[in-house]
C-alpha cells in the first residue's frame, strides 16, 4: 500500500450529499477482475453524456461540460471536498480504487458511510471527517479561489484550508500507523497467528459445529 504522510493538492468540490458507490463507479465496471484502470470511469454517469461500458475508448466520449471534475480549473485535483454521507451504498472497493486511480489521495466530508470509509484505508486513500459548517466554508473558499489547494498532514492530524487556517481531525491510531508506514494489514495480522490458533482451540470446545462441514 502507498504511504500517506503529507499531501498538498488541488481541491475539487463535489456539492452533493449521499453520494453512493453506484454513482462513484457504476456497476458495469465492477466486472473487471483487476484493481486498476477504474479512473476513467469514476463518476461515469455524471461525467459523460452517454452510457459507459467496460473496455470503451473513453477519450472519444462526449463529456458533460457542467460536471465539476470536467471543469478546466479542477484538472489534476487530488483532494475531493464532499458532502455528508459520502460513499453510502454497496461495499464495492472499486469505489476507492476508482478515486485513487483518478488521482485522489484524500476526501474531506462531514460524514462517510462506514464500509466505504473502511475501504479507503485499505488502499491508501485518506477520508477525513471535518465538521459540517467548516466543510461548507471550505466549499466557499475553493469556489472563490481558482487553484485553491488543501494540505493534509497525517502525522499531526491537520488540514490546512485554502484560507490558511488549520483544522485538526480525528483518526484511529491503528489506521494512522498503517497509512503512515504503508503497511499491509494481512502481514500484520499474521504476526498474531498464535493468538488466532489459540482462539480456535477455545471456540472448538464451545461451538464445535462452527468448524465442521457437512
Amino acid at each position: 500500500m502507498e504511504k500517506f504522510t503529507v499531501h498538498e493538492g488541488l481541491a475539487a468540490p463535489l456539492d452533493r450529499s449521499n453520494v453512493d458507490t453506484d454513482l462513484i463507479i457504476p456497476k458495469q465496471f465492477l466486472k473487471s477482475i483487476k484493481r486498476t484502470g477504474f479512473g476513467p470511469n469514476l463518476f461515469d454517469e455524471l461525467r459523460y453524456m452517454d452510457e459507459g461500458y467496460p473496455g470503451q475508448d473513453n477519450s472519444q466520449r462526449p463529456l458533460n461540460p457542467d460536471f465539476v471534475l470536467n471543469l478546466p480549473r479542477y484538472q489534476g485535483a487530488s483532494v475531493l471536498l464532499a458532502r455528508r454521507n459520502f460513499g453510502c451504498g454497496s461495499s464495492r472497493e472499486h469505489a476507492p480504487w476508482a478515486l485513487m486511480d483518478f488521482g485522489f489521495r484524500a476526501i474531506i466530508a462531514p460524514s462517510f458511510a462506514d464500509i466505504f470509509y473502511n475501504n479507503c484505508f485499505k488502499n491508501g486513500l485518506l477520508p477525513i471527517v471535518v465538521e459540517e459548517d467548516v466543510v461548507d466554508e471550505m466549499f466557499g473558499e475553493v469556489a472563490a479561489n481558482e487553484g485553491a489547494t488543501i494540505r493534509i498532514d497525517l502525522e499531526n492530524q491537520l488540514v490546512t484550508r485554502p484560507n490558511g487556517e488549520t483544522v485538526s481531525f480525528e483518526i484511529d491510531a491503528f489506521r494512522k500507523h498503517c497509512l503512515l508506514n504503508g503497511l499491509d494489514d494481512i502481514g500484520l495480522t499474521l504476526q498474531d497467528a498464535e493468538s488466532i490458533r489459540a482462539y480456535e482451540t477455545r471456540r472448538m470446545e464451545r461451538e464445535p459445529w462452527v468448524f465442521q462441514t457437512p
Partner: protein, 473 residues
Amino acid sequence: MAGKTLYDKLFDAHLVKQRDDGSALIYIDRQIIHEVTSPQAFEGLRLAGRQPWRINANLATIDHNVPTTPFSNASEIEDDTSRIQVQTLENNTREFGITEFGIGDPRQGIVHVMAPEQGAVVPGMTVVCGDSHTSTNGALACLAHGIGTSEVEHVLATQCLIAKKMKNMRVRVEGQLGPGVTAKDVVLHIIGVIGTAGGTGYALEFAGSAIRGLSMEGRMTICNMSIEAGARAGMVAVDDVTIDYVRGRPFAPAGAQWDQAVSYWRTLVSDEDAVFDKDILIDAADIRPQVSWGTSPEMVVPVDASLPVPSQEQDPVKRTGMERAYEYMGLEPSMKVSDIQVDRVFIGSCTNSRIEDLRAAAEVARGRRKADSVKQVLVVPGSGLVKQQAEQEGLDRVFVEAGFEWREPGCSMCLAMNPDRLLPGEHCASTSNRNFEGRQGNGGRTHLVSPAMAAAAAVAGHFVDVRELEKAE
C-alpha cells in the same frame, strides 16, 4: 455493571485480541464469496503466495452476473465480462479448494438467500461477504456485515478482521402490524424515520413484539436493509422462530451437538439491563404500505400519501437532494403516489425473493392480469431451492397466467449487471433495496415496495394500496 447487548455478546465471543490502539482482531466463522468482489482478493493471495487459513469457513456461489434465462454452462453467458467473472470464480474456488454452488446446482442463488437456507449461517456466528447486504444474516442473531475486497482477502488469509467496536442502537417496533403491512414496509418506514445515515457507526438490533411476530424471512428482509439505514450490521435476538428455522438444514449441527448448540443460542439475546447508545421506539400501528419516490431509500412515503414538498424541508442539504431527486425521477411534489405510472415490475433480490415473498406476490397476482401498459414483470426467485419450492406450490403458474415472467435465480434487475434492466426514464416497482440513480439501468427510476405492493402495481399499471385491492375481492 450494565448487562450486555446481543451485539456486545457476539463481539466479545469473537475477540481474538484487543490491541492497545483500540482496534481489535475478531474471528470470522463464515465467509460467503461471490464473483464480483472476490477476483482481486484471490489474486492478492496468489501474488503473496498465501493459502486460505480455514478453507471450510468459505462458501461460494454466483449471483450478480448470472442471466435469469436458463443456461447450463458459463460459456453460454453472452456478455464477455460477466462470463469472465463467473469463470474466474470457478477457477479460483477450484484452485483453493473452496466449495462453490455453481451453474446448474439447485443450491445456487443470491449469497444472502443461499447461506441461511443451507444453514451455513447459524446463530452466534460472525459472517462476512464482499457485499453490503450481508447484514441479512443478522436475522439469525449473527454478527454479519459487508466488507470490501481487501478484507475478503484478509479473511481468506487470516480468518480474522480488524474491527472496531460499533455503538449499540435498538429499534423497537411494538404492537400489531396492520393488514397488508409487511416486513418490507416496516424497514422502509424505519429508514424514513432514522434516515439513510441514521445508523452509521451503530450495530442495530431490531426488537419489539412486531419484530418477534415476523417469520425468519420477514426478519431477513428487515436486517437486509440495515445498510440502507447506514448500519453495517442489523440483528434480531434468538427465539423459537430462529431455532425452528435452523433445525434440519444441511450445514446445521445435528444430534447431540444440536442440543448443545440450542442451549448456547438461547443466550443470544440482549440482557434486560443492557444499555443502548440509542433506543428508538416505533408504533407498529403507524406503519402503512410504503413506496419510495426518490433516489435515496429515506425518500419514502405511505402509499396513501402525496409526495413531499421540498420548500417545506428545513435542512438545505436535504432540500437540494429532494429537488435533484424530483428532477431525476420526473415527478412533481404533492402528486399522489397512486398517480405514479409503472413501466416495469421487479419481484426479487436478497430483500424479497424468499418463498414467503413469492407467496405474497402470487396471492395478489392470482386470478388477475398484468396491466397492458406494464411492459414487463419479472419474478426472480432468490435461489434454485426457492424456485423448486415455488414450483411445487404452483406459484410459477399463477405468475405466468398473470402475464408475469418466471425466471432463474440471481440478483437480476436489482442492480442490472445481467441483461435484466430498465431503459432510461422507465419507472419500476421493485422489491429490491436501492433506488439510487441508474441502479436498475442507466436513467431508470426505481420505487421500492413490498412484493404484494409490486404485484398490485403490476396489475393496476400504477401504485395502488394493496389493502384496497384486498377489499375489492
